[in-house]
Structure formats: C-alpha cells, structure tokens
C-alpha cells in the first residue's frame, strides 16, 4: 500500500451497509458490504457488526489498515448527532483506528453519490420517502421522512397501503375492479373462493387477517404489483402511482429554492413510467431547473463526504472516478 492518506466512507442502511476506501484522487481502493448498520433500527450491537463487516471487507480488498485512515464518515439516518458515537468508535479504536469519525445524514451520501456541487437536492423514495436541500455541502432543509404513520407520502409503503385498500374495496364491491386484487391475493398465497361471510367475500377476511399478521411496513412489498398492473394499463394502479408521483413532487416543492442537481435514490422514482411522469408534471416549470440523476446507493457519496471532512473539496472528476473505479468491486 502507498502511504498517501486514505479515507473511508460508510453508507449504513436499515438493511445493508457499504464501506468504500478512497484516496484523494478518487480511486476506489477497497469496498465491502455488511448487514444492517443503523443502531436506531437494528440496535447498537447488531449495527456495529454490520458496519465492521463492511469496513473489514473494504480493508481486506485493499490491504490497508485502520491506522492509515485519518477520516471515517458514516452516513446513516437519525445519527447526525455524533454524541453517541461510542457504539462504533469503540470497536474501530480497538482495531487500530486513531482518526476522526463523523456521522452524516444518509441522504447527504445519496446526494454526493450523484453530484459534487455544494448545493442541490437529494430524494429517496423506497420503503419511505424523504428529501433534502443541500447548501454549502450540508443539509439545509428536509421534507417528509416522517415515517409510514406520519408521512412517507408517495413511498413504497404509501403505494402498498393504497394498493391493499383498493383491493379491499374491490373485494367488497365498493370500489372499482382491478387486476391488483388477483396480484395481491397471489402475493399472499390467498385463494379466491366464492364463499362469503357476513355478506363479504372470504378472501377479504383472509386478506385483512394476513395484513395485520405482518408489520405495517411490509405493505411496501406490494409496490411491484402496482408497477406491473400499471404496465398492463390497470386504471386503479395507474391512479395510485400517479398520486404517488404528485405527492413526491409536493414534498420536494416545499424545500425547492435555487436550481441544481436532483439526485434520486430508491426504486419508486428511479424508473421511467407513471410515477416519474406525474412527478415531473406536478413540478411543472420547477423541473426545468433540476438535473435529475439516479444513484443506487450512498457508497460513493459517503467517500465524497469523507474526502470533504479530510479537507479536500472533491469535484465532479473525483466523483466520476470513484463511481467508475468502484465498479471493479461489485
């Protein structure tokens, strides 16, 4: 290994974690993945395991040691205060780390995965929906991100809940017929029987029991059914997806100021189709001032944040090199 200073960016999520080792030129020198890395949702011990697995894998692919790394930035939701860093700083120090550990918002890593400019926007619509305005390289405004009970309008959960409600209305005969019904019953392995109970189809009773047997957030798994049905011109599915796009646009509009890049993560808005069309139509002229870019995750952005924390100001060339050289590890 060279003895040039290295930085480590960690993109720690609710289901998986990525660690990317970089030099100041933006060469991806090591990459690793791990399990759940957010202590808020996974608990400190499990999150530490997830993060350290990714870190050790990144070090192993590069041959570097933690002692060579002056700066680590860990991007994760809800951990922007570094007050309780011990759960991660402790094990890192045990493994030889002597540098500075900083926490940043997960959406800031998404942003810098897609843009090097110090100002712009990032939004994620996956299971949840959240968006930020970036100014001077930091979070200056946030919209939604309030979770499935209070917000997440236009998210995968939101779509899934609209889908299952539409299916309930179809089964009940109070709403429009939709192919979502067949798709959702199949998704849950529920038979369609002609049997009724208290004037309602047996399938509806079973659907209700099945939905409440699971965590609410699992409704997000019904989102693909909506995309598939919309592809086949199902009017109910198209209506739901269109409203999802409108909701996402309304949330973003609440924090829109100057023109800039809009970096998009998550599966709901990243693909072309009804949601994206409705999103852009609702933004109207404001969309012209945005340059849309899709990113898969915040690994590159976390490394960009680590380079920024190390005192360099990584530009678009560095971001592109990080992205290109990361490919060989995936």
């Amino acid at each position: 290994m060279s003895h040039e200073p290295l930085v480590l960016g960690i993109d720690a999520g609710g289901t998986s974690t990525r660690a990317l080792l970089s030099n100041s030129r933006g060469d991806s020198l090591g990459f690793g993945a791990g399990g759940r890395g957010n202590p808020v949702s996974a608990g400190a011990q499990r999150a530490a395991t997830g993060v350290l697995t990714a870190v050790e894998a990144a070090l192993a692919t590069s041959g570097a040691s933690l002692a060579e790394i002056p700066v680590i930035v860990a991007a994760m939701a809800g951990m922007q205060s570094s007050a309780n860093a011990d759960w991660l700083l402790g094990p890192l120090t045990e493994r030889g780390f002597r540098g500075t550990l900083t926490f940043e918002a997960d959406l800031l890593a998404i942003y810098f995965s897609g843009a090097a400019a110090a100002a712009g926007y990032a939004m994620v619509s996956g299971t949840g929906a959240c968006m930020i305005r970036v100014e001077d390289g930091d979070v200056a405004g946030t919209a939604d991100g309030l979770g499935w009970l209070l917000g997440d309008r236009g998210s995968g959960f939101w779509i899934g809940q609209q889908v299952i409600r539409a299916v309930a209305e179809d089964l009940d005969g109070t709403g429009a017929g939709t192919s979502l019904t067949r798709r959702v019953l199949e998704h849950y392995d529920l038979a369609t029987t002609p049997a009724t109970r208290e004037g309602r189809p047996e399938a509806l009773w079973r659907l209700v029991a099945t939905a409440y047997d699971r965590a609410p957030i699992e409704l997000a798994a019904l989102t693909p059914a909506a995309f598939d049905a919309a592809q086949e011109n199902d009017a109910v599915a198209i209506g739901i997806l269109r409203e999802a796009g409108q909701q996402l646009a309304r949330s973003l509009r609440a924090i829109l100021r100057a023109p800039g890049p809009l970096v998009i993560g998550g599966s709901v808005l990243s693909r072309a189709g009804v949601v994206r069309d409705a999103f852009l139509a609702t933004l109207g002229e404001a969309a012209d001032a945005l340059v849309l870019r899709n990113v898969g995750d915040g690994a590159v952005g976390a490394a960009m944040l680590a380079l920024r924390a190390h005192g360099t100001a990584p530009d678009e060339t560095v971001r592109e090199r990080l992205t290109a050289t990361l490919q060989r590890f995936r």
Copy 2:
C-alpha cells in the same frame, strides 16, 4: 328468584364487558361489568376472566344461578363462528351452566340496543369504524371495519392520524397553521422550542419520536383535540372532521338498501357537530329514510339477542323496558 326462564346477554368489548340478565318481559334483573372480553385481542384466558367477572356480577345482583339460564348470547367482534367456544363455554359449564351459548357480532348487539325491528342498520365510529345492514335479525352486509391499516375511514384513529399529519405539516411550514399543533404538543407534554435541526423544528422531531414510541392505534386519543379545535372554528380541524363524516357516509352508503333505523354507537358520530352534519349532508336524501338513534353500548342488544335465541321475538316495548330497568344498575 322466580323460576321463569332467564336469559343472559353479554356485550364483550376490547376494553370492557357488560352482562345483562333479563326475563322474557324485558325486565333487567341483574347487571355486571368486567374487563377486556374479546379473546382475539385480549387472549382467551384474559377474555374469559373479563366475561366471567361481568357474568358473576350480574348473577350476584339478581340472586340467580347459571343453572337457571337456558340461553346465553355473547356479542363480540370476530367471534361469530362458535367453533372455538371452549374458552368461554368451559368455565361457564364448570359454574353450572347447562344451556346454549351462542356468539353474535358486536354490531348486532349495538343494533338491538337501539331497535327491535328485524331490519335496519348499525354503525360504530369509535377507535375504529364499522357498519352493518341487518335483515331478518342477522348481519346481511358489512362496510369497512377493516382496521386502522386497511380501513376505519372516519374513525377516531383516522381522525387522529389526520390530526398528527396536519400538525407535522404546520410545524414543517408546509401546511396551514392550526391550533391543533398547540393542543397535540400539550397532549404529548412536548415543549415548543424555537430550536431547529436539519432545517426543521425540534418539536417536529420530538413529535415523530413520540408517535412511533406508541402503538399506532393510540393516535385515536388525538380525536378530542380535533373536536375542541373545531369548536373554536379551527379551519384545519373542521376540514378533518368534515371529511370524517363524509367517509362514514360513503361507507354506509355501500350497504344501504331499504329505509330503517340507524343505530349509532361510538363517540365520533354520536355527538352533534361537524362530523354528523357532514355525514347527513353526504347521505343526502338517503338520510331521510333513516331514523337515527344513539346508544352507549350493546348490553341491551345482547339481552335482546338472547331473548331472540330463546325463541321469543322481543318488540320495541321489551327493548324500552330493558333500557329503562337497566338504569337502576348503572
């Protein structure tokens, strides 16, 4: 005690249970209350304790024994199939019961608490929202009752969720200002501070954390804040309550057929005001065919169902006598 046949009606709910002992004339001879009585939500053992407490209290006030009672009807949600009656029939038999135990829908007991006619409607909007059409003394159609995740439109939960979302939007500056914000922050004992984090008020972060710390259904506790705010002409609160009334009317309309009594339980629709006005306005002419009656619970109706199960057809005189003579026990 006389040796005329007695019947026992049990109105078993998710939070409390009532038992009412009656003769065929409709004289309330004994009444008792107990705790949670629904095995679906409380578990079989706890529910049995709740029901038996009410039953034993009703027997104690009357001096009757279970051996004198040929018919018991237990009205509760989700237990219309008597397939799994053992949790209750077992302990009743141990205590000397030799008669017939039947389960009925909780809403059917609500219905017969307010009407003796064999056909009509009953609806409850409390924490949840459900409505039934009654034909030949039995449930012929059901609307909503799908729970907080899939339905319960216009219920206390529904109102509470709209309230906290409106408060989040107010705090975020993306929605209209509303006195609900002050009321809800007070409800949760949260201070209003000028502090912000990531461009959002500290109070919003705390509100989100507080809401997710609790069971979702507890949002129903915010309903009184909406009624209070509407009383003081808060436009946001009035809008929420108006939509609640519209949602309830739409659900009812899905099962409306012939004219008849509409028996109303639950706190959302039973009081005069915005919800009820919007409910009636949305029903339009259909409202003219309905005779609205408020009831507090299903105790009288459970006794009416027990009399029906015993082969008598209790009329309006019996229902009124049950209601009047029950007063001395409460």
